[in-house]
C-alpha cells in the first residue's frame, strides 16, 4: 500500500440522502427505449426494424466500421418503433422495445468460465461485442482497429474507487460477497489484454476493511498497487486522479493511461466469464429528492419515469442529474437509463424565501467557510437543495475559489479577465487550460459568480481566436459530456 497522496484544495461533501447499501432489483419495465449512442463512440445504425422480435442481449445496433461498440436489446420482446430522443445537447436515434416481461438474456458466444483458456483476441471480441468497451471516459482499450488507445500501449490502468463525488455508488454494494474476488478476476482479465500496464487501484481511505481485504488478496500475486485516497472532491476526476497516482511522471504517462470505474471492471469480467452483454446497470438513487435512497439494479433503457414514479418524493419539484451532481446537466424523466449511468441524483428545487436566512444558525447548512453551526457539528448530514442561497454580488476577493481549486489556478482572476473581455496569452499563462471543470469554484463563491462558466467561455474564446489549437475530441471525454456535461 502506498502512503496517502492527495491534491491541494478540494472539499469533503457530506449531504443527507446518501444512498444506502440496499439493493433492489427493479422489475422488467413494460417498454424500454434504447439510445443508439451510449458512452464512447459514434451513434450506431439499427439492425432491426419495426415489428422484429428480439431477445434480451441481442445486438440491435451496430457500427458499420466496427469501431463503436454495439448496442443491445436489454429486454426480450418486440420492436415497437424507431424513434428519436431529445437530449439536452442534441437528438439521438433510439429503438423502442415492448417487453414480454421475461428476465432471461442471451449470453454471448465464446464466453468461458475459465477465462485463462481464452486468447487475447478472443477476450477483446467478447469485450467489444458485449458493449463494455464503451464505458468510462476513454472506454476500455483493446488491440482492435479503431480503439482510440491501443491496449498494448497502455502503461497505467487506474481504477477509481475513491467515492469522492457528493453522492456515490456504494463500494459495499458493488463488491458484496463474491463480487470482490470477481472484481480482481476482472482486473486479471484486463491485465492479460494490457500486459504492459501497471494496475493502480485508488480506494476511499475510509474503507479500512475493504483496503485490508484488497491488501491481503493481492499481496501474493502483486496484481496491483493499492492507494488509499481521502474521498475529497474532485479526487475522482480523471486528471486529478492521474496526477495523484502518476505523480511527477504525469506529463509523460497520462497519454498512456486509462481510468476505469469498479462497475466497468466487474461488467468486463461478466462479459468474458458469463457472456453477459451490457444490458443492466447498478444505479444509486441519491439525494434528498428520493423517498428511499437505495441502489437499483435496472435494465438499460428503462424510462426514468418508471423509477421516479416509484421512488421519487411526491411533494415538491426535484431536479434530476445523472452521475456527478456538480458537473452534469439536469435531465427530464422522459429520458431512459443509459449504459453509462451509475447514479441518479434527485435534488429538491427549493424556492422558499426563508425568513432572515442569512442570520440562521445553520446546524445543517453546508458551507466551505465555517460561518455556520454546522462547522461545530461535522458529523451531521447537511441539507442539499438547488436554492441560490444569496444574491449575485461583485467579487470580494475572499479567496475561497483559489483555495478549493484542485489544479492551483486562481478562478476569480481568470473570471475578471474574461468579463473584461481581455482574451490573450495572459489567460493561458495563468493556467486557464488547466481547469478540470470540477465546478468547485462556482460552488463555493459567496458572491454567487459563475466562475466555472466564465472560465469555460474564456477557453472557448481563446480557441476561437486561435491562441490555442482545439484538442481532438477524445472518445469518452465527450461521450458522457455529449449528453450530460453542464
Amino acid at each position: 500500500m502506498r502512503a496517502n497522496k492527495t491534491f491541494s484544495g478540494g472539499y469533503h461533501f457530506k449531504f443527507e440522502g446518501y444512498p444506502r447499501a440496499e439493493v433492489v432489483e427493479m422489475e422488467i419495465p413494460s417498454t424500454v427505449i434504447i439510445p443508439l449512442k451510449q458512452g464512447c463512440g459514434n451513434e450506431v445504425k439499427p439492425v432491426v426494424k419495426q415489428g422484429d422480435k428480439v431477445e434480451a442481449g441481442q445486438i440491435i445496433g451496430k457500427d458499420a466500421e466496427g469501431i463503436a461498440a454495439p448496442v443491445h436489446a436489454s429486454v426480450s420482446g418486440e420492436v415497437v418503433s424507431l424513434d428519436q430522443i431529445k437530449y439536452p445537447r442534441g437528438v439521438v436515434n433510439s429503438i423502442v422495445i415492448e417487453s414480454d416481461g421475461t428476465k432471461r438474456w442471451e449470453p454471448l458466444a465464446g464466453r468461458q468460465a475459465d477465462w485463462t483458456k481464452l486468447s487475447v483476441p478472443q477476450i477483446e471480441e467478447l469485450l467489444y461485442t458485449s458493449g463494455v468497451t464503451s464505458l468510462d471516459s476513454q472506454g476500455i482499450p483493446t488491440n482492435r482497429e479503431g480503439s482510440p488507445l491501443s491496449a498494448r500501449d497502455v502503461k497505467h490502468l487506474i481504477v477509481n474507487a475513491v467515492e469522492a463525488d457528493p453522492y456515490n455508488l456504494s463500494l459495499t454494494v458493488l463488491l458484496a460477497e463474491e463480487r470482490l474476488v470477481q472484481f480482481l478476476e476482472g482486473l486479471m482479465i484486463l491485465q492479460k489484454m494490457m500486459p504492459g500496464a501497471k494496475i493502480h487501484l485508488a480506494v476511499n481511505s475510509n474503507r479500512k476493511e475493504l483496503l485490508a481485504q484488497f491488501d491481503e488478496l493481492t499481496r501474493e500475486n502483486q496484481l496491483l498497487e493499492l492507494y488509499p485516497l481521502s474521498p475529497k472532491y474532485p479526487q475522482g476526476n480523471d486528471e486529478v486522479l492521474m496526477k495523484a497516482i502518476l505523480g511527477g511522471n504525469y506529463a509523460n504517462a497520462s497519454a498512456a493511461s486509462v481510468v476505469l470505474t469498479v462497475q466497468t471492471v466487474l461488467q468486463a469480467r461478466d462479459a468474458v466469464v458469463d457472456g453477459k452483454p451490457l444490458i443492466e446497470r447498478m444505479v444509486a438513487l441519491s439525494g434528498p429528492g428520493w423517498e428511499h435512497n437505495l441502489h437499483l439494479k435496472v435494465r438499460v433503457g428503462t424510462p426514468i419515469q418508471s423509477i421516479t414514479a416509484k421512488y421519487l418524493k411526491k411533494t415538491g419539484l426535484q431536479r434530476l442529474v445523472p452521475n456527478n451532481l456538480l458537473t452534469n446537466v439536469a435531465i427530464s424523466d422522459l429520458l431512459p437509463v443509459d449504459r453509462t449511468f451509475d447514479n441518479l441524483n434527485a435534488i429538491p428545487e427549493n424556492t422558499n424565501r426563508a425568513l432572515f436566512s442569512f442570520l440562521r444558525l445553520g446546524a445543517k447548512k453546508s458551507s466551505y467557510s465555517k460561518a455556520f453551526l454546522s462547522a461545530a457539528l461535522p458529523m451531521l448530514e447537511k441539507t442539499c437543495d438547488t436554492n441560490v442561497h444569496g444574491e449575485a454580488r461583485a467579487c470580494i476577493f475572499c479567496g475561497y475559489c483559489e483555495e478549493v481549486c484542485p489544479v492551483e489556478i486562481i478562478p476569480h482572476l481568470l473570471d475578471k479577465y474574461v468579463k473584461s473581455n481581455i482574451i490573450d496569452e495572459q489567460l493561458i499563462r495563468y493556467g486557464i487550460f488547466s481547469c478540470v471543470e470540477c465546478n468547485l469554484c462556482s460552488y463555493v463563491c459567496p458572491s454567487k459568480i459563475h466562475l466555472a462558466w466564465n472560465i469555460k467561455a474564456g477557453q472557448q474564446m481563446l480557441i476561437e481566436n486561435e491562441f490555442k489549437q482545439p484538442q481532438p475530441a477524445q472518445c469518452g471525454k465527450d461521450a458522457f459530456a455529449f449528453h450530460f456535461a453542464g
Binding site: N328, A371, V388, A394, E402, P446, F467
Partner: protein, 359 residues
Amino acid sequence: MNRFRQQLANLQNKKSLKPLSPAFRHIEFLVFGPGDVTASAPHIVDTLDSKRYMSMAVLALMPLSLASVYFYGWRAVAMILVSYIFAGITELLFAFFRKKEITEGFFVTGLIFPLILPPTIPLWIVAVGTVVGVFFGKEVFGGTGRNIFNPAIVGRVFVTIAFPLLMTTLWQLPFTEGLGGFLNFSRPDAITSATPLGIFSGGEAALYSYSDLLLGRAPGSMGETFRLLIILAGVFLIIVKISNWRIPVAYLGSVAVFSQFGSMFYPGRVAPPLFQLLTGGLLFAAFFMATDPVTSPFTKQGKWIFGLMLGMFTVLIRGFAGAVEGVMFSIILMNALTPVIDSLVLKFKFKPIKDYGVV
C-alpha cells in the same frame, strides 16, 4: 409575511418613492432569502452569501461595540447609529444613480468607522467622515469589490487631517468602575490629551501598565482599547474563515521584529515590541482593517509581503514621523501598493508561456 413582502414590492415600484426603491429592495432581501434556484451545473451552491459574510464580521465586532459602551457610555451607540445612517444614505444615493442594488459592504464599514474614532468626537464629524469614507473610499471606484482603499481608513484619515485637534488631543478616560458606561451617556469632565503612545513619544514615564492596556483601562479610540477582546474576536474571525490568518500574523510579527531592532538602536524614538503591540490602533487594524479582502493582496505570498511592509511602515511612522499613530497611514500606503504586489507575485508564480513549450 406574504402581505409584508407584497407591500415591500409595491413600495419598490411606487413612482413617487423611486429614489428609495433600492432601500426597499435591500430590506426585502434582508428579511426574505432568495427564492431563485441555480440555472445549471453545479446545481447546488454553498450556503454562505455576501450578507452572512459581512454579518460574521459584524458579529465579531458586537462584543467590542458593547465593551465600548461600557467604557465610554451610550454616546458610543449614538456614534454607531450616525455612522450607519449616513453610510446607508450614501450607498442609497449611489444605488439609485447607478441603478444597482445596495450591497452589504456598508454593514462592516458602518461599524468599524466609529470604533476607530475618539469617543469625544462630535456627531456631525462622524457623519462627515462616514460620507467621505464611503464616497471617496469606495463608491467613486465603482462600489463594493472595486475599491483600492479601505473606506473606514479613508474616512479616518480625512477627519484626522481636517480636524486635527479634535482627533488627536481630546481623549476620554474610560469608565472602569461597576456598571461603567451603561449608566452614563458620556463623560465630558474626564478628558485627557495623553494616550499611551502620546506619552511615549513625549518622552514621559508610562502611566498605564500592560494589563491596563489589555483590558481597556487606558484611553484611546472607542474600539481599540479593549485589546484582549480584539484578539479573541480577531481569532474567531480567522477560525470561521472570514478573515485570513496570514495578514495579522505577518503584520504583528513584523512590528515585533522591526520594533525590537528599532528600540535597540533608537530607544527614545522606537518603543519596545510589547509596548508597540499593545498601544494605539495596531491590534484592531491588524485583525479587522488590514484583513479587508478587497484592499489587501489576494495572493498568499502577497499577503505576507503586505503584512511585512505594513509593520515596517507602522514602526517607522510611529518612531520617526510627526504623527503619533502610524497605523492608519501605513494601511493607506499599503492599500495603494496592493495591486503592484499582486502583479509581481503573479509574475513569479505563473511562468511565461514559452517555458511550457508549444501551447
